[in-house]
Symmetry: C2
Subunit: 230 residues, 2 copies
Amino acid sequence: MTLRMYDLAGSEPDRRFSPYCWRIRMALAHKKLAVETIPWRFTEKAEIAASGQLLVPVLVDGERWIADSWAIANYLEDAYPDAPSLFGGPAARSLTRHYSSFGDSLVLAIFPFVALDILGHVADKDRDYFRATREKRVGTTLEAFVAGRDGKLAAFRASLAPLRVTLKSQPFFGGEEPLYADYAVFGPLQWARCISPFALLEEGDPVKLWRDRLLDSFGGLARKSPAYDV
Amino acid sequence: MTLRMYDLAGSEPDRRFSPYCWRIRMALAHKKLAVETIPWRFTEKAEIAASGQLLVPVLVDGERWIADSWAIANYLEDAYPDAPSLFGGPAARSLTRHYSSFGDSLVLAIFPFVALDILGHVADKDRDYFRATREKRVGTTLEAFVAGRDGKLAAFRASLAPLRVTLKSQPFFGGEEPLYADYAVFGPLQWARCISPFALLEEGDPVKLWRDRLLDSFGGLARKSPAYDV
């Protein structure tokens, strides 16, 4: 039975832009598992109620509904042990947990740059929901929240220094080939380019070169998806 | 033949305080390898000239001299394959590289809190060298550099949020037991408590609880070393 995944979309059904869903799209490709992705909007909570919570990604495998990107990655690894490993062994799985936590923090770090641009892509029926929930979270209007973003760019790029050191010495966090650790950090960067023309990464930055290698992985799965060329 | 390691010391020969040397002390204990540590001061460059560079840790294994904590960890893993693995497999070794890069960045993040306290512990003959090289690096006096440290503490602790998330869900980065990834991040925190009474970590913080578990590892190797109780 083909796996199904609820995948965040906006006004254009093909523009998929959840950082957490992108992790799982890449993980499914890594495991060579076919998936039917179902475009889902923020306010379609009833569609995923069977998962017991309100956020995507949600994976449906037969009768099983699984939510949360880290839980889904672990489910895929255990349910499909003969497919290429997402982690590379038990110790590597434990070590990957922190890449997921770090990737989550990267979503928060990127949000001040792209928050308003997201609003330009969400479905009409989601606009009020998105603005209200996000403005409550950040304590100001989205317009005010992103106003000083140019001045924050140098500090954001500097914060990526440890990634840069690692990616100068090896092509992927996983080594010669990418692993889920790579996808966990890539998801937030793919999210940004799917909904914002803002150039977060500098040309020639080893972090951007690594991201570009992941855009080209799996036949260009992420590169071919609607996004800005940044 | 017993391994030898040049290990940074100060005015007290037993107070060993290099973040990078602590990684290797823990790695050697993990591999159950006996080591003779040789107290070394910043200005004793001639003592380690055979390593081809000027910094510790330097490991001496028979005729071989190896420098750089990451290179030494890899050397130990490959030269002593029957001893407990520092990484947990090839993928895990690749994934560990970034823990080392991140740990290096943690040294830079901690330095503004402890820079002046280090000066109180370095050997008399090292004091001018330490002050001159570090003041050149930070562009001001050590006194001025640490003056606002209390006001920076909240931001430092907040920056550890991704570590905290991971360490709430598992006891070590390596899983149920520590691996070199743990020692790579622990080294900078052990460095800080060896030379400064400043309380970088808050009571009850999962990061501090994890650090305390590592202090107790290997019969309390790191806890028994001269340090402040913070």
